[in-house]
Symmetry: D3
């Protein structure tokens, strides 16, 4: 179960309201790389993990991400505290209020729709969706997903740090960014403490296809590197060898029953196109007087 | 630019139609771990990457994923080829057709809405969304995201292989699964060919917080392991040291102008709750005759 | 900040795995009336509320809802624990596994995509979205929204209780259902402890329109009741008095500048339809031999 | 069935085009608290309600909300009528047109994508979704949801009134806002004309948990009020009494069959993490020359 | 403004409840080709159309589609009327109720979440979204979109007719299907009453590219027909002539300022991959004992 | 299978970076009328089409749209190349970077979230969704949908051309726009090469309803034209003839079993509203001291 302490995990000191900056911060509140996504990612994984060590770690970090969510949400709330009052109380002339709503980012939406309260949307106003969470219930995959997610969150914090000179916000963002680094380290340790972890799952790859690199993009700019060169790789750039690599004819087939076949043939016949036709079309009808019809339409 | 060869990358041989199985296969066509997500993930990364080697690799693999999309889509198409004809031609009695629509998965939706054609939805009928793509324009992050994505796709293919005994489908799925392993290897090589890559970006973490592990989930089941134990870690399980870790008071503050302050105070006063009240509520009004009102309502 | 206790708020005892039932339970995990929606609803409100009493209450209940999320997620996890292992280990024949995936609800998706782990989707497999949260940053509104949300959650739990005879699950669901009732009572008290709270906000309604009831749906089945009858209401059922109730002409107008007017007129002229035409259309072209064209198409 | 009268329910007089303001108005056209949401909310409820009085009321108000949708959409259309012509006719220099597209809100999107026509998106350009509708087919719940929805719509109109000084728009918005107040009153009457209505549904709460208030958020800022104080409440702030409130051990359990157990154990063993390991990780590999590896990697 | 008549546009007579069939019918209630999409498509177009004839037609048909929405919603409501009562009243044994919820389609979700009331979701339970509406505010385009939409709605009704033998439902569906045909005819007439209408808009195509057909998919199965053959077409199947058709070098370039260039080069250098490296990777670390490392990791 | 040529289909020459313009271009990258939607629309249709000619055409054009996607994505990438470097390298003062992020459109989101890389979102930042694709697996419908889609894409390109004076971008956009015209022509030819194609499908309309035009919107502004006038049409404007057009009573009915009926009646009784009540409501409780209660609340 969860408990809550009124103290934030990190003190939030904002120099002055700025609703435009607030909407950027929403990226880490209700955005794809934000703290809700992180918390829910780890929390849902924890519920199904059979390994007690990982389960404990996932719960520790999920709980910390919820605490981060509160920190970034508090920053948003402080940055919007001015416009929240002005709009609710009708405290400014209409034109001034209109301008204060349009001074950056999606502040128009966060003011009109959410009244300045932090909402679980990203910096474009798009509502958070669980489609952001890529957990699939396999620890070797989920840990890799977590590692990647932490690195992404680190970068989004870095970008946010780069665009504000409010010292208090910078401090809090630096704390949050640092923790993403630490979490990535934990997930890395957990991944490699499970051996083997590559490839994930139980089924091995097919040996005919595991070491091939298909050079499907060709022309000026092709390059070689460890990802397609070296003893691990067979480099296939002959176009003919890239198609139907199973040695078959490269078609798609299904065995239909006689009834099914008859029905499909009826469908095909009913909707067949006539390659010999040169029909008048809607485009011909609408192309205007000078365009010349393809053919004469006879009753 | 892209070109197309009529041959599939892998020949598709399906033993018999099965619309229920078809809807499972949609997971790798229009699902979050599917081939469109993979192709678009790498393709969009390629367009902005400044490194010629990675750019080439991303285009190679993006193009291969599009070719995989065609393979899995062809499987779906073959599995649905029976119901497609039956429904379009009205070839069965209504009750038989109704039953054939309800024999598994989301076949009712794929038949009624899509007529048996492969649609970019997952196995629950949820339309594909670019929210599945987590690229953020930083190569150290994006490569990690790709590594994780490939491992996830490998597992979903493994699950699909486990639930069908159609040999031709199993073959094609095994090919597709194997290629995900190979792609993961390429992305791993590319990540580590960029040094340093951890932490991503330029800003270093704050030394006070980089090595701490906050044990926020406590009670029976706590565990230690390399993710929170060892010389890299300082383990913090004292609840008091987990809050306001900056040494501040753990509150959120903002400096308001005098006008802003006045407005916020007006808002607060207008919407204040009275802690001494014991008001009659809507629940009281609706609780029924025997429930007893909290207080008498006097005009 | 948040902390976590390894103990659940309510012990979960599940009699046997049942992935079909698990997908129903997802409604309260990742569905619109579920616990994540509840937790996030109150948590985000708390961050911006200026009233210390309400803020405390919102944090108390938000934290409890997170604890409920853990309970319902644990039920899902237990119900899926069988299929999770079977699918990951490939422990059954393909046909048996296929059937076990299709025994109810969206178990095919929760197995293939999520491997049996609880996912933030509803019982139809639709990912959770913050569009479910209707908070707008006004306490008189948000409390009403919370009251309504709690009553809805109560009913969804009641429905779930009605469809399972697993005693342990019934117990846990009854606990969760009961807490929604208690939360509704708290929100009711908080709403009426703020006086006045109706109508929300500061602007009064326009007296000409505040007491009218427009009977816009007419015919057999019209009814009167306290919602449209009594001293509070003026009942308007004359169709003529229902349109343009401001006494104007009921049109929409805007004052354009001369340049704008000229441009709009050019647009109107360019895209004007000719009411006198009887054009051949695409439908005519495609209606088949016996259909007779509207007119002869002359070059 | 529905019929339409060419007259608007309220005459729309807009002083001059303003695409930036138009995008704010979209909040009540295609936003979560807007008129389509209201109309569809009541209309869908009406179709399934067994009570003739409520059914009639729901149809009356649904029809009025459709008429409101037309009013607010007409405002949007008038505000965009200038840019609509300019863009369609290419009537301005490119740079001027570019600037006119970027003068506020999401006017760039409403111009490029929708050509100035009103679209069912909110003020951030997010398409309307039925996820906004929270009806669940229980009248005691749905009426509460309607009450809350009307209060929210009232506030969003109030905010829009506060940000425009166009007298004609202000008039129309005031009408619309006033009607939301009237609708709330109707829904309130209908709710309390159904007795009892609290708690919704048939199942009573469990007496052990109905009157408890769990103080889960603790520390500076805790408060008491009628929502957690008084004879209706038992206040539980002892952390130990907040966990496993059923008196159990607070774990989650399921009874597995022998086969299931064996499979789960195989899964657990295969994916176990080694708590004694101190593995080299990907982060170690990428940490750069000075970072020092955790351990030596031996072939 | 809208008005409502209690009579349906078409009488609905359902032979018996069938929640599985109800969920199929939802496709035309809250699905992409359904009546809400149709109504909103035409209604929003009407609000911005400058042509009085089209505007009137769009309002006529939009109003009819709303009336159709009521018919199809009433069918859903009747089909669910049994399960609605059983679930709300808890009238069956749990196991019986569970089974009645799982007898087809998404009836489990429509019962648990919506209580049997018609909801604006499609037959897979996906909430309706305005992303289904493709209007862009140009009449030549929007009419074509409407023509296509009506033809699609016709087919979905045909499929629904094919899967039910309930005579009353068949009747009502046939009426609805027929009206889609009639609407398509109206939109066709309106399109061709506006001359010219092809291509839409004002800007002509570039003559070098207007008549070319690029045969980008090659191999067995290539075909010729009026869409790529005849005097209107220049067929380009030489791969070399398909790339960089402007005669340029086919690259993407931008002129950067000196500062920008320096920054981009710094970025490129910082994130460069080393093509000569053969790095140990995470996959190597996780490949297990027998896998052989690429290289020795030396401290 | 797909292959890739490093050369773009059309050379991209951008005069200078402009992130605000970049976000407008996203409309044709990840927007509803953009190139991904086009490519996926035709590609998925091709996989299920039984006609070899159409299948070939669909693959040709799908492949070209993918090549267009690369062109428009490259334009976005070039326009963002400046801000990409500045943000990643932290190359500007915070305030300057903040301003560069807010100079138009959604550049704040594309910078913070995507780092300047092209993302599959539209110009408002909304992620691409397969809900944009309206294919239903019937060629007569899908071709009409394609015709409409091409005309829409043409117009969005025209609008983009109208708002930029960058000659290189204008060139590339003109190429892309022209190709949409050519594709529309191909789809028109293919539609009319299939005869008959109207109405789509096999079932004929009901003769009683096929030629009627219901004038449901009445009042000033009614108009006649070929869409509702002429020998093809019977114009119905008598309100009485517009309802229950089947001659029935216009109600919705279902035959319930005795058990079902009893249950529904129990539900109706339990949730009945009392039309004679004049209950005190929540609005009364919250209306403030001067508002006057409806009635006295008696214990």
């Amino acid at each position: 179960m969860f408990m809550h302490n009124k103290k934030l995990m990190y003190t939030v000191r904002v120099a002055e309201p700025n609703p435009g900056l607030a909407t950027l911060m929403l990226e880490q509140f209700g955005g794809p790389q934000g703290e809700l996504a992180a918390a829910m990612r780890y929390f849902t994984q924890a519920l199904a993990d059979e390994d007690p060590g990982r389960k404990d770690m996932l719960l520790d970090i999920a709980t910390e991400e919820l605490s981060h969510l509160e920190v970034i949400g508090s920053i948003v709330s402080m940055l919007n505290r001015g416009v929240k009052g002005e709009l609710a109380e009708g405290a400014l002339e209409e034109a001034d209020l209109y301008m204060s709503l349009n001074d950056g980012g999606e502040s128009h939406t966060t003011s009109i729709l959410y009244g300045g309260a932090p909402a679980l949307v990203n910096s474009a106003g798009v509502p958070w969706t669980a489609a952001y969470i890529d957990s699939i219930g396999d620890p070797a995959c989920d840990l890799r997903s977590n590692i990647a997610a932490e690195s992404r969150a680190k970068i989004v914090y870095e970008r946010l740090i780069n665009v504000t000179d409010d010292a208090g916000i910078k401090d809090a963002l630096t704390f949050l960014m640092t923790r993403e680094i630490a979490h990535q380290k934990s997930f890395e340790k957990a991944l490699y403490a499970m051996q083997p972890n590559f490839p994930a799952g139980k089924l091995p790859g097919h040996p005919d296809f595991a070491d091939k690199y298909y050079s499907l993009s060709q022309g000026d700019g092709e390059a070689r590197g460890p990802w397609n060169e070296g003893e691990q790789w067979e480099y296939v750039d002959d176009r003919a060898e890239q198609a139907a690599v199973d040695g078959g004819d490269g078609t798609a087939q299904v065995v239909l029953s006689a009834d099914e076949l008859e029905t499909v043939e009826a469908l095909a016949a009913r909707t067949a196109s006539d390659p010999q036709a040169n029909p008048v079309t809607g485009a011909d009808l609408g192309a205007g007087p000078g365009a010349g019809k393809t053919t004469t339409l006879v009753e």
